[in-house]
């Protein structure tokens, strides 16, 4: 058994909260720059220029890319040979979020209760997802998630008879009806299969896969390309002012499902699709 102190996890999460909010992942930067190259509609090109200038300022001055510094989604892949000592895991994670959001001058955007509201004041609790994997290390990912796009996400329990056309229609409908609310160009995470809750988690995980990668199965890789092309023919464009660049990328994650079901979830993101990872 390898022992890892809970305080070490806290330190890493504190650092990742700040990094993720000030620095875009390389694949997202690249996707924005490539979209700018391809964009031939004047207004849209101007918007993309401002978006690129914005992430460059944020990185240089170490300030948040976006004022919605999100809910801290924390993914831990914990090796089964690891023993965490010196404190409870959720508390260690929350402490990391608390410190990171305070020290990084990040916005506290979490309320205590869905109906009665009331800001918790320190952006906790973190949305914590754990997975037990082989090995003796912990892979820690912090993905701050803004709600302009989160609010436009959708899940549907499709009938198997709807087939591939039904899946395509649902995804395209979800992205189109999200309209101008999520900050376009968006990232689209799609989860298929599993159960009602697993499909949604897969969609969220899809957003953390680099935008320049494809699903390992050629069938889904082709579907990713086809759907992205269709979305970028909508004409909605950056910020919805018209243009080619409606989405930066679309990733699909899949898993087996029940004979009676074909669940599908679409988790919308924005051009500030953030995540940073560290392995300890």
């Amino acid at each position: 058994m390898r022992e890892i102190k809970a305080s070490r996890i806290t330190d890493v999460i504190e650092r990742l909260c700040i990094q993720a909010n000030t620095r875009l992942p390389e694949d997202v930067k690249e996707a924005l720059r490539q979209s700018r190259e391809k964009e031939d509609w004047e207004t849209a090109a101007g918007v993309l220029d401002q978006i690129i200038e914005n992430f460059e300022i944020a990185e240089k001055e170490e300030v948040p890319i976006c004022q919605d510094t999100g809910m801290a989604c924390v993914f831990l892949e914990i090796g089964q040979e690891v023993h965490i000592t010196g404190g409870a895991l959720q508390e260690a994670v929350d402490e990391g979020v608390r410190r990171g959001y305070e020290k990084g001058y990040l916005r506290k955007s979490v309320v205590k209760d869905p109906i009665r509201r009331g800001n918790t004041g320190d952006n906790t609790p973190a949305m914590l997802y754990t997975e037990i994997v082989p090995g003796d290390r912990i892979r820690i990912t912090v993905a701050p998630k803004g709600f302009g796009s989160e609010n436009m996400s959708a899940v549907r329990m499709l009938k198997p008879s709807a087939g591939l056309p039904g899946i395509k229609d649902f995804i395209l409908e979800a992205v189109e009806t999200a309209g101008r609310n999520p900050c376009r160009p968006v990232g689209v995470g799609v989860g298929m299969g599993g159960t009602f809750d697993k499909e949604a988690l897969l969609a969220k995980k899809a957003l953390m896969r680099p935008l320049n990668t494809s699903h390992p199965d050629p069938f889904y890789a082709k579907l990713e390309r086809e759907l992205l092309e269709k979305i970028n023919a909508f004409g909605i464009g950056p910020q919805g002012f018209g243009g080619r660049t409606t989405a930066l990328g679309l990733n699909i994650e899949t898993m087996p499902t029940h004979i009676a079901g074909m669940p599908c979830a679409v988790n919308m993101s924005c051009h500030v699709t953030r995540h940073q990872t560290e392995v300890i």
Partner: protein, 189 residues
């Protein structure tokens, strides 16, 4: 068209602005979002005064990040305006003509804009670091307990905005997409 304007947003000035215009705005604006709007509308219902004079005022839908030492304001991009649709007509009735945000509005808001000569400006969503550069002064004026949602008075210089909806019913979201698709179709023929 590119325009440079100075606030307050009088009825006359508002009428010169059209959907699709790029507008560089200089002057005083006020920040408010969900919780602040709720409180202001409740105050108006009780016949109380607002924390600022709403006449010809412009409200920026934003909840900035805390300012780092040496900064006037933290990152400050727009939030989704649709959540303020329930309050916007009441605010326009009180005199607040300008709105800065992002995303679609309900027909009720468009109707109130025609009635009161309102203007809905879009700031680039997600460009919080860039937009903060236009803010030259920031003062907290009310509802401090709301944190990021507190009411702030800002002085902005040459803030880059786009008119999304104008007082005559013009709407860039509809017209911009249609113009782009029309151009694409023409190229294909």
């Amino acid at each position: 068209m590119e325009k440079h304007i100075r606030l307050p947003l009088t009825r006359e000035l508002a009428r010169t602005l059209e959907a699709g215009d790029t507008v560089y705005v200089t002057g005083t604006i006020y920040t408010s979002r969900d919780a602040g709007h709720k409180r202001m509308c409740e105050a108006l219902e009780r016949g109380e005064k607002l924390p600022f004079d709403p006449q010809d005022a412009t409200i920026y839908y934003v909840g900035p990040t805390p300012a780092k030492p040496g900064q006037i304001i933290g990152s400050a991009g727009p939030t989704t305006s649709g959540r303020m649709d329930a309050y916007a007509p009441r605010m326009m009735e009180a005199g607040a003509r300008g709105m800065i945000g992002k995303g679609a509005r309900l027909p009720e808001v468009a109707e109130a804009m025609k009635k009161y000569d309102g203007v809905y400006f879009g700031a680039i969503g997600g460009a919080g670091a860039l937009l903060a550069k236009c803010v030259k002064a920031c003062e907290l004026i009310a509802y401090e307990d709301l944190g990021a949602e507190a009411l702030r008075k800002l002085y902005v210089e040459e803030m880059p905005l786009v008119v999304i909806m104008d007082s005559r019913g013009g709407n860039l979201y509809e017209e911009g997409r249609a113009a782009y698709l029309k151009q694409r179709k023409k190229e294909k023929e």
